[in-house]
Symmetry: none
Subunit: 188 residues, 2 copies
DNA sequence: AGGGGTTGTTTAATTTATTAAACATGGTAG
DNA sequence: CTACCATGTTTAATAAATTAAACAACCCCT
């Protein structure tokens, strides 16, 4: 987690055409403060950073989500180019395949092609995982448990839930089950 | 811009089942610091806040984007319960169907089941739309243009790109094309 | 009931950020 | 060339955050 607060502030300030003194006045701090922060010679308290950003204006969330997009290099993926993730998943039972679109370099959206052999089961209980998750079944049947609710889904059916509540996928059918899922932000 | 740093930290710490001391140790600060921050009796410098969050772990961006989403009421969807969006899309040519999982009440993730009749085409040029978008083809073939790049994708193939780049989907095959896509944050 | 462990809170000492003002540089007009 | 006004930087004084250690409350166990 290396976030260059100084560089970020300088970038934003200059983008808005403000001098250190101009911003300092609007923010209610001194120009020296701005200068030291931009050189990373002092680390502002969030209260003073908030004051500074109010002079922009900009929220703390916007400040720290430095979305200066380097466009992902690869856009198109042949079926064989998806990244197999099953090895990284603990606690699964039976044959499970999670194949991911792209490499998560752009890390807000994760798309998976999931396959479950008959009987396969993932007791993953994503504790406190601040995500939203959903998907659509394209083949076979899957039993999905979310919190205290359970449902059998077939081709064309879908699901959507907050990943913080414990959940589990089980293929209770006798043919392989295939589904496409999406998650934001990604799991791992 | 009122952001309750203390309450937010407490919420996150408790969600992760950590005591003040446990978090303090993992973060390399003292328990007193955590306590004072949570009571808003001191405003942490971003460097110390960063240390604290590294013990979670969590990024500063995640910390300040406090999206406390009320969990969506409906979790499971039968195929027929997906919401048809085609009517709301301008500029499409031919028969196109966009069927959405859920109602966007939780608005970070949008999952669509898309169908394109042979010859169908969507010249949607999502200008400045700050999203990431991806999908997997499950049937038929689709020609996808992203910026100055163009590719024909078949079943099992996938794509992923920044939605701010102009893009377009065209079914150049002679059978219907079906794909599952995801987008964060949603289009409309 | 008492002891050992945990929890969160508080307080004086220390470290760090912030201020106010001086300093240095660069451009521009007279 | 000099005077002036803007810029960003630095420095000693002040204000605030952080530490280390003590405090109080709670739970569990014997």
């Amino acid at each position: 987690m290396e976030f260059d607060v100084g560089a970020r502030l300088k970038q934003i300030r200059e983008q808005h055409g403000l001098s250190q003194r101009a911003l300092a006045q609007r923010a209610g701090v001194t120009n020296g403060t701005i200068s030291l922060i931009e050189q990373n010679r002092s680390s502002p308290s969030v209260s003073s950073l908030r004051k500074v950003l109010q002079g922009i204006p900009m929220t703390l969330a916007e400040f720290f989500s430095s979305d200066d997009l380097p466009p992902p290099e690869q856009i198109f993926f042949k079926g064989g180019e998806l990244i197999e993730l099953a090895g990284e998943l603990k606690g699964t039972v039976g044959q499970v395949s999670f194949r991911q679109v792209g490499d998560l370099r752009s890390r807000n959206l994760q798309i998976l092609h999931e396959r479950y052999a008959p009987g396969a089961d993932t007791g993953r209980t994503m504790l406190q995982h601040e995500s939203e998750e959903g998907g659509i079944v394209i083949k076979g049947q899957i039993e999905l448990t979310v919190g205290d609710r359970k449902q059998l889904l077939g081709p064309g059916d879908a699901y959507f839930f907050d990943s913080r509540v414990p959940h589990r996928f089980r293929n209770v059918g006798d043919i392989e089950c295939e589904l496409i899922s999406a998650c934001t932000p990604p799991y791992l």
